[in-house]
């Protein structure tokens, strides 16, 4: 086969391959569907892992100060008040700023709230964690607990 023919074949082959690659790259750039619904990101791709949590609160703070669970997971949480004054449990909403028209904050359900417990009392609740991942803040909403240190509820 003459050298010029080989060169020509090689050139055309390279062009074909390059074009094929570009097409493949185009196809891959729009992998996510956009049907108008808001689907929050999920960094670890894991959801729905049930967990049991036990939180103790004293007059100086919560223990543990960090709770970690997956999103959309069924949680059983027990709050034990070992302090001398009433303490409760509530998780603040998390700001989710966006320009897509999606909700601007993510909140735990009302089921996750424990009204202030008297000293020595405990309460157990079950709730589902929200879909949106992030580091939420939990605290006591008792009137006298404005200085009580909050904790972190990490949704992964």
């Amino acid at each position: 086969m003459p050298t010029s023919t080989i060169t020509s074949l090689l050139r055309h082959g390279l062009l074909l391959l390059t074009a094929s690659t570009l097409c493949l790259a185009c196809a891959s750039s729009d992998a996510r569907s956009d049907d108008g619904t808001c689907t929050p990101d999920d960094a670890d791709g894991i959801i729905s892992e049930p967990a049991t949590l036990v939180v103790t609160v004293t007059d100086s703070g919560f223990s543990p100060k960090i709770l970690t669970t997956q999103n959309t997971s069924d949680i059983t949480l027990t709050l034990q008040n070992d302090g001398t004054t009433p303490h409760g449990f509530v998780v603040d909403c998390l700001a989710t700023p966006n320009t897509d028209g999606c909700p601007l904050e993510s909140c735990f359900s009302e089921d996750s709230r424990i009204a202030p417990l008297a000293p020595g009392e405990s309460a157990t609740i079950t709730f589902e964690t929200p879909l949106v991942e992030g580091i939420y803040t939990f605290r006591s909403d008792a009137a006298a607990d404005t200085e009580l240190g909050p904790g972190q509820f990490i949704i992964q």
Partner: protein, 708 residues
């Protein structure tokens, strides 16, 4: 232009100075490492895909490569990071994959499969560093699952290490370098025996380049080959290795940037006892019968015992015990254990190619593969100070079976079109005894202490090569492979494997005597389940399907005997679907663009004490573009330059290798997740951050080798 003038000109271009000038004055004889061993049993298969390479010793040593896994970087598209430590298999980058600890590449030492299908560090875990690099004579690399001989873990391809020592006699090599690193290697290859017979041992120890990085490893490899008769050949291989290393853990980039902790340092709290320990003992053999017509019957049994334990803390003190929720904040030190005893065999009967009419030839090879294993796995949380267990996450005994059959045919039509491949069928079965089922097991919240999972993987593999002319071929390949799934997490009745579908189209140009080989291929690979690192779970998690698309181009040229140069470029896009419907991500830690180049010159420099003096100088360069650590965070670009050289008279050689010669700060791994690492004890507030483990800074290693 005369050959000599061409050589001189090339040398000036390459600016390699006096060494080239000396090389230009002398006719280059074969260097001691030039011979290629054709070990009996090495199968002369036809190429299966564009990325089917035989990496000969000269290419493997073209630039500094300290460990056996790093030798894979000689193959186009591959990049294997250099690590100072020991114990883990190196991370391997290829065709859009970041194969943690070799998982995803089928590897064999001789005929012995090295992958552990159900390893707790990743399915298909393999550490080729149990092979002493000096006894690797050749590596066959096959990128893609296009050969029916490829078994479990051949997600992105295979690497088959052929062992042998071309230079008979003995050698003792002592090395010393940065971070009090020392290595001693001894090899004995009896003159009377063939090149596949040798005994070798190595010992390596290092203080490490930062805190908590000391490591030590002892390895022996021995192989014996003997002709039992004119037609029968026996080869026996034994490998043993024991490794232990301290691990520093991660550092947060925000802490490094603020000067709170050094890049090569370790946090003062909750980082104690991070370590890895790995032991392995492998015995394999091959009995081959070759008829006078060239037909081959081979039976190759093997037994392997491996024991692995890693202790690593990624997140600080975020964990809460699942068995007792009142226990928390004791340190997220995950201990993972994997102990396996496995045995099996590979066998095939190859009929040599026969003429079919006047214009075609056909070769056929049916074969089988059997692997039976018994594995003990556990994952626990330990208290860092005394390694006491404070929560159990996994405790399981696994029984694994892989029984595979394949039929390979090799059809040559009109001397131009070669069609190779055939079907492969594997029966995979796993039995699980879950000691933590129905309770606190992270593996099985569905319950069931005893479960079984069985399935049959059927995968056609086909490759067609059309020779357009003497140097140029067009190749198209398609293959369906499989990989075992994380057995401990399987539910009863589940399918125990994940499918891989891959195809590629490309061209290969090749001049005679390997003076020039160039390849270009576009590919797509779809894996049924992607493995992704999840820090909070202390390891890899199985996600949904992933797709890689890209291009790999390579050139290997040896225009003159003393010069070898290679370059490769890999461009790819890698995405995976999470378990959450509609959510997909870039596969983390995969460089979208990867460039590698090696240049080496070698030849006779003159005489020294009336003995010929040979020299070798090699440079290896790698560029990796910024990887996706998450969809919004990208890691830094990576530039790595390694330089090495050696002078050798007949009996003595002096060598110097410099790794990361540019002195750049490089992360061995980087991940984005939430942690609460702090310089203060106790449970500190958590935040999202990029976490890194440092790769070695500039490392210099000098060596003295005595041949006898």
């Amino acid at each position: 232009m005369s050959r000599r003038r061409l050589r001189s000109h090339a040398c000036r271009v390459l600016l390699i100075g006096e060494l080239c000038a000396l090389a230009a004055r002398a006719e280059p004889p074969p260097t001691p490492e030039a011979p290629v061993i054709e070990v009996r049993g090495l199968r002369p298969e036809s190429p299966r895909g564009v990325g089917d390479f035989r990496l000969r010793r000269e290419l493997l040593t073209a630039s500094p490569r300290q460990q056996t896994s790093e030798l894979l970087s000689a193959a186009p598209g591959f990049f294997v990071d250099h690590e100072d430590g020991e114990g883990f298999g190196n991370d391997v980058y290829l065709r859009g994959f970041d194969l943690e600890h070799g998982s995803g590449i089928e590897m064999r030492a001789g005929t012995v499969p090295l992958n552990i299908p159900t390893h707790i560090q990743g399915q298909g875990y393999a550490d080729p560093n149990l092979i002493i690099p000096e006894v690797v004579s050749q590596i066959r690399v096959l990128e893609g699952p296009y050969d029916p001989r490829q078994g479990d873990a051949a997600i992105v391809g295979s690497a088959y290490f052929d062992l042998g020592v071309p230079e008979r006699g003995g050698l003792v090599r002592g090395s010393y370098g940065s971070f009090n690193q020392r290595r001693l290697v001894g090899i004995y290859a009896p003159e009377a025996a063939g090149p596949e017979t040798f005994g070798a041992a190595s010992f390596r120890e290092t203080d490490g380049f930062g805190s908590h990085r000391a490591a030590r490893a002892g390895t022996f490899n021995a192989q014996y080959g003997v002709d039992l008769s004119e037609h029968d050949h026996l080869r026996v291989l034994a490998i043993g290795r024991s490794v232990s290393a301290a691990l520093p853990g991660v550092v947060r980039q925000d802490d490094v940037a603020a000067g709170r902790v050094g890049f090569y340092d370790s946090y003062p709290h909750y980082t104690e006892n991070q370590s890895v320990r790995a032991d392995a003992l492998i015995v394999g053999g091959e009995l081959r019968h070759q008829s006078s017509r060239g037909d081959v019957l081979s039976v190759a049994p093997f037994v392997m015992w491996t024991d692995f334990r890693a202790r690593q803390n990624y997140t600080g003190t975020l964990q809460i015990a699942r068995s007792d929720p009142t226990r928390f904040g004791l340190g997220d030190l995950f201990e993972t254990n994997n102990r396996e005893l496995a045995g099996g065999l590979t066998a095939y009967a190859r009929r040599a190619s026969r003429q079919l009419g006047s214009s075609s030839e056909l070769g056929i090879e049916p074969g089988l593969f059997l692997r039976v294993g018994r594995t003990r796995q556990s994952k626990n949380l330990l208290e860092p100070e005394d390694a006491a267990i404070w929560d159990r996450r996994l405790a399981a005994s696994l029984g694994t079976l892989d029984a595979g059959l394949y039929l390979d045919f090799d059809l040559l039509l009109w001397k131009r079109l070669r069609v190779s491949g055939g079907p492969r069928v594997d029966l995979l079965s796993v039995s699980i005894e879950d000691q933590l089922a129905n309770g606190s097991s992270a593996a099985t919240q569905s319950g069931g202490a005893e479960r079984t999972a069985t399935g049959v993987s059927i995968g056609p593999r086909l490759s067609a090569q059309l020779a357009l002319s003497q140097p140029l071929s067009v190749i198209a390949s398609y293959g369906e492979g499989y990989r075992s799934l994380d057995a401990a997490h399987l539910e009863h009745g589940a399918t125990p494997y994940s499918k891989v579908l891959s195809f590629e189209v490309g061209v290969r140009a090749r001049l005679p005597r390997e003076r020039f080989t160039s390849t270009l291929a576009v590919f797509q690979t779809r894996v049924g389940n992607e493995l992704v690192f999840v820090a909070n779970n202390g390891g890899l998690e199985s996600e949904n399907a992933s797709v890689r698309r890209g291009l790999v181009a390579s050139i290997v040229t040896k225009p003159v005997r003393w010069l070898l140069a290679s370059a490769s470029l890999s461009v790819n896009d890698a995405q995976f679907n999470t378990r959450v419907a509609g959510v997909s991500h870039h596969v983390p830690s995969v460089p979208p663009l990867l460039f590698r180049s090696d240049v080496s010159v070698r030849g006779r420099l003159g005489t020294f004490w009336q003995l010929p003096l040979h020299g070798r100088l090699g440079v290896g360069y790698t560029f990796a573009s910024a990887t996706h650590l998450s969809d919004t965070v990208r890691g830094p670009k990576v530039n790595v330059l390694n330089v090495g050289g050696e002078l050798r008279s007949r009996f003595v050689a002096l060598g110097v290798d410099v790794y990361n010669a540019l002195g750049l700060r490089i992360a061995d791994s980087s991940d984005v997740y939430v942690s609460n690492w702090s310089l203060q004890p106790g449970q500190q507030p958590a935040s999202l951050a990029t976490h890194s483990v440092a790769a070695p800074p500039t490392s210099v290693l000098g060596s003295v080798t005595v041949y006898f």
